[in-house]
């Protein structure tokens, strides 16, 4: 395979583009694709302060690296989830990258902020680890971004992540979630007039055009020392099984993933968004984060605070044995 730009020896072949690239032209191609995505979805401008959620893995370190190289003001945010040696090694990868690149990194730990780790939380609440972990991350990423005064929260979700989520939402016809799957989630405010303040930071996914294999190739060719090992709690994870299934289809029909996701954005997403409509937000009585009241007369309490309260109660009463239930729902 030869590079489609310079005809030199190629190191990466992207079958859905029917193109090979040498190292330098591949890196340029990825940067161009990301720049195009940022522009196409009006994700942010040159003056915005970006907060990049980094896990120490290939995708988040790649998106951070690309944004810095494109000249954006991008600060990293690492949340220590307390998953034993895995969390230590992933934190090291994030810190090491920040030092080498001379980039700013904010580090917080779930244990310090709230008094529990992801494994403890799972044991206490009986919730599957990935579900509790996802809720923790959503909550803490948003809270940290608002507290630290950032304009936009950036995550490293790639094309495969988005397709797997879409696939899961279609398999189970989660129409609410289909109505909200987008590369940009707008900022949301609470309060009226002078009291009005942001409660949900703007969220963007600049890698939606880049396949997972390409973010890995990018990280490797850039010499980014990311953590290759998988989270020990993730084994058999639904999202992972969807990705494997989709990869088999992609192998025999290159371009399927791209068509599924961008076809959805172009031709279907609007219809689901219309159906699900706007939700009315109110402030959580405990923490002030936005939530929704479904029953009149009940005090608004957000999912995170409910989970935290349950964990604290069980800490005193002692945990119940974990329920062996499988979550078929994809988020």
């Amino acid at each position: 395979v030869k590079c489609k730009v310079c005809r030199e020896h190629a190191v990466v072949d992207i079958r859905r583009h029917n193109a090979g690239f040498c190292r330098d032209h591949f890196l340029e191609h990825v940067n161009n694709q990301v720049a195009k995505t940022i522009k196409e979805f009006s994700m942010f401008g040159p003056d915005d302060r970006l907060f990049v959620a980094v896990s120490g893995g290939k995708d988040s370190l790649a998106v951070w690296d690309i944004l810095i190289d494109l000249g954006y003001d991008a600060t990293g945010f690492y949340l220590d989830l307390g998953i034993g040696g895995y969390s230590n090694r992933s934190k090291e990868a994030a810190v090491r990258y920040a030092e080498q690149k001379g980039a700013k990194l904010v580090v917080r730990s779930l244990a310090q902020e709230h008094g529990f780790t992801v494994p403890e939380l799972s044991k206490l609440t009986g919730r599957v680890p990935c579900s509790g972990c996802g809720l923790n991350k959503r909550y803490e990423f948003n809270r940290a971004a608002l507290e630290e005064g950032f304009d936009v929260l950036v995550t490293g979700h790639n094309l495969d992540d988005e397709v797997a989520t879409l696939f899961g939402n279609v398999l189970h016809w989660n129409v609410d979630m289909l109505g909200r799957q987008a590369p940009v989630l707008e900022e949301r405010l609470l309060g009226d007039g002078p009291d009005s303040h942001p409660v949900l930071v703007r969220k963007v996914k600049p890698l939606v055009r880049i396949a997972e294999r390409e973010t890995a190739a990018y990280a490797l060719l850039k010499g980014i020392d990311y953590i290759v090992e998988e989270c020990p709690m993730v084994e058999g994870n639904t999202q992972h099984r969807y990705k494997e299934a989709i990869t088999l289809i992609e192998e025999s029909s290159p371009g399927t993933k791209h068509q599924m996701y961008f076809g959805f954005l172009k031709r279907a997403a609007d219809r689901f968004a219309q159906d699900s409509g706007e939700v009315n937000l109110v402030a959580c009585a405990s923490c002030g984060a936005p939530t929704v009241v479904y029953e009149e007369g009940t005090e608004p309490r957000c999912s995170f605070c409910k989970m935290k309260a349950l964990a604290e109660r069980r800490k005193i009463e002692g945990p119940r044995p974990p329920r062996r239930r499988r979550s078929a729902r994809s988020r």
Binding site: R127, Q239, L281, T291, V292, S303, F304, K306, L310, R329
Partner: protein
């Protein structure tokens, strides 16, 4: 050919020489799901590997959590869904 595999880390011996495609087929690995690495650079499918080569086959698909930002009712920090209300936020719903 010495092949390093990941998760867990291990090394297997595969009879060579041959193309990257043929090697992955012997290992029953889907090429779209991995990077093939030799001397810190990447090999495309048509590249040949020799008997003495040491290569790494690195998986690229990660499980991820239940997606930290998937836009759903519970996505943006902490909306509450009707399901959460019903189960008091206690467990996974299916």
């Amino acid at each position: 050919v010495k092949v390093k595999l990941r998760n867990p880390d291990r090394v297997v011996e595969v009879s060579g020489p041959g193309t990257v495609s043929a090697l992955l087929e012997k290992l029953d690995i889907v090429p779209e799901a991995v990077l093939v690495i030799r001397d810190a650079t990447l090999l495309t499918r048509d590249e040949r590997v020799s008997e003495e080569d040491e290569i790494e086959v690195r998986p690229v698909l990660s499980g991820g959590s239940a997606d930290a930002t998937t836009p759903s009712l519970v996505a943006n920090g902490c909306y509450t869904t009707p399901n959460d209300q019903r189960t008091n936020g206690e467990g996974p719903r299916s």
